[in-house]
């Protein structure tokens, strides 16, 4: 039971880290960003490649990965996302999906199509109530909580954060104050992408790295965003952990049904409260 809870919390933490960026782009720019799944995958692959470069130091490799994702996500924002403002949302979905397709194919080209397992970077275990758990998982949960606090401070205390929150509420009002909203959207996009890469590199040692790893987690993150409410940071936090627990509990009784259960929850939420975009 303890291990199920720990598993659920780990997935919830990863889902939270990934969903933040998705929720922000969805909430501010009204763009369903499939490319987010690509950045997630790239994060995992870059970590894998940079680990030997960083002499197997996980922390340094992680920092290098995120530093590398910044220009990449800026390029995607500059050449694809920025052109999608004001365009029908269908085209935004299709265009970002196209970016995902292109990226996945490039990944297969560069790194090959077969899955690569990574080892637990810590390799140590802790015993909680006579159940042994990998320390790494507990650290991920702690990190997501720290991230929640940091983002809370960012959106409450900094100017950039406040502008983004205001834009979530009413983009045009912010624009009429003479603030270049689109520029802040670029920041938000890059920030969200960094978090996606962080999620990817954190989760990579738990599962294995393969080109299509982004698809399913992206769909589940959409479920998180929808259940939590668009651009609602606290809602995203709660929804991520709730759906993580749903996955863990379903997975305990019937493994293959775990992801389907998440979609069922999402469908129910959409039936009760459809989102207007």
């Amino acid at each position: 039971m303890i291990s199920t809870i720990a598993y659920g919390l780990t997935i919830g933490a990863i889902l939270y880290i990934i969903s933040i960026g998705l929720s922000l782009t969805f909430g501010t720019m009204r763009i369903v960003n499939f490319a987010h799944g690509l950045i997630y995958t790239v994060g995992a692959y870059l970590l894998m490649t940079l680990l030997p470069v960083a002499r197997e130091n996980f922390l340094i490799a992680a920092v290098m990965t995120i530093a590398a994702v910044v220009p990449l996500s800026y390029l995607i924002e500059r050449f694809v996302i920025r052109k999608l403002y004001g365009v029908s949302i269908d085209y935004a979905i299709i265009a970002t999906y196209a970016v995902l397709l292109i990226g996945v194919d490039l990944i297969k080209w560069i790194w090959g199509a077969s899955p690569v397992p990574l080892t637990d970077p810590l390799g140590s275990y802790v015993t909680v109530f006579s159940v042994t758990l990998p320390l790494y998982r507990l650290l991920i949960i702690a990190l997501s909580l720290a991230l929640y606090a940091a983002l809370w401070l960012f959106f409450k205390k900094t100017m950039v954060g406040k502008i983004v929150v205001a834009a979530l509420e009413d983009k045009d009002a912010v624009r009429s104050l003479g603030i270049s909203v689109d520029r802040y959207f670029s920041y938000v996009f890059v920030l969200g992408s960094c978090l996606a890469a962080l999620g990817g590199l954190l989760y990579a040692p738990i599962t294995s790295v393969h080109p299509y790893m982004g698809f399913m987690i992206l769909l589940i993150s959409f479920a998180v965003v929808i259940v939590g409410g668009l651009g609602n940071l606290r809602g995203t936090f709660i929804a991520a952990f709730a759906l993580g627990m749903v996955m863990a509990i379903t997975g305990r009784f019937w493994g293959p049904a775990a992801e389907t259960m998440v979609f069922a929850v999402m469908a129910v939420v959409l039936i009760i409260k459809p989102i207007e975009v």
Partner: protein, 318 residues
């Protein structure tokens, strides 16, 4: 409005003749099997485009309805009757049924929500076929379908099947042409432009959207059922949500919102995936780039491009 008039005055007969002649002419190049496959895919694109091009709702889970048809027809043939016509009817009925059940939930949504909720249901359906009901569907291995002869009609003969599928394509095209140029169809297109206004005029838009959705899922299921006659084998790839992008691309490249565009797009996609894919090793890369070009530079598709060219010529069409 002038576009409406041209649709009405020209009539669908010329289109039907061109489509039939086109598929018969390319028959020697493609071979019977592939030509039949092309036409089935065109039927599927027609069903999808009714929803996307005409009603303005992007479904990111249309494989569910194709798969419903494919599996319904196979299960029907295995457990009830091997009469291919009854099985086809069962496939279409299954498509209509799933549209009727899911419709009230799905059509209330718009935009991104519509796309994602379809995707969610598609994922659930995929899970049902692959895991939950794998005892009946054969799971990953799939299941085969056998059909008996009905009188002189034997769908085991590829020429007979080709003729029948061509007839089905023309029939679907004809009925959709009638549907989309009827007052009902015009209303559906108005919903795409401005649903609030249509509502304000006193129409119950929900009912119109629901019926159009059922029609679209039935056509998709019809295509899935027909491909069982052609392949004789149902695999989970018929319901795989990652393949949704194919029909979206086909509808976009042909030009959304026109039946001719849907048929052209379906044919173009099939040519690309059947022939170009063997020359282009980076197939997904190519598909992605093509999608980006379509979205950013070529939004009206091939048919829109042709239409523009024809309109620019001075008034020979009066």
């Amino acid at each position: 409005m002038s576009e409406n008039r041209t649709i009405r005055t020209r009539g669908p007969l010329l289109d039907l003749a061109v489509i039939a002649a086109g598929f018969v002419l390319v028959l020697p190049v493609l071979g019977l099997n592939r030509a039949t496959d092309f036409m089935i895919f065109c039927i599927y694109v027609l069903g999808f485009d009714l929803l996307y091009g005409y009603m303005g709702r992007l479904s990111f889970g249309h494989m569910l309805y194709l798969g419903t048809g494919a599996y319904a027809v196979t299960l029907f043939a295995e457990h009830v009757s091997q009469n291919p016509f009854l099985a086809l009817a069962a496939g279409i009925a299954a498509g209509a049924l799933i549209g009727a059940i899911l419709g009230p939930v799905i059509v209330r949504a718009t935009g991104a929500c519509f796309a994602l909720i379809n995707l969610a249901f598609n994922q659930i359906g995929y899970f049902f076929v692959l895991v939950a009901f794998s005892k009946y569907t054969g799971g990953e291995d799939g299941m085969s379908a056998y059909f008996s002869k009905v009188g002189p009609i034997d769908f085991g003969k590829k020429t007979v099947l080709f003729g029948f599928v061509l007839f089905c394509l023309l029939l679907t095209y004809y009925l959709l042409k009638k549907f989309t140029s009827s007052p009902y169809g015009v209303l559906v297109r108005s919903i795409k432009e401005n649903e609030t206004r249509v509502k304000f005029l006193g129409y119950d838009t929900f009912r119109y959207k629901w019926i159009t959705f059922i029609l679209s899922t039935s056509i998709a299921a019809f295509a899935g059922a027909l491909s069982m006659l052609n392949y004789g084998y149902a695999t989970p790839s018929f319901i795989d949500p990652t393949r949704n992008v194919e029909v979206i691309f086909a509808a976009l490249i042909g030009g959304p919102g026109s039946l001719s565009g849907a048929v052209i797009g379906g044919a173009i996609y099939m040519v690309i995936s059947n022939y170009l894919a063997s020359y282009i090793p980076r197939w997904e890369l190519f598909l992605g780039l093509a999608l980006l070009i379509v979205v950013f530079r070529f939004r009206t598709g091939v048919w829109g491009f042709i239409n523009d060219r024809m309109k620019r010529r001075p008034a020979t069409y009066g």
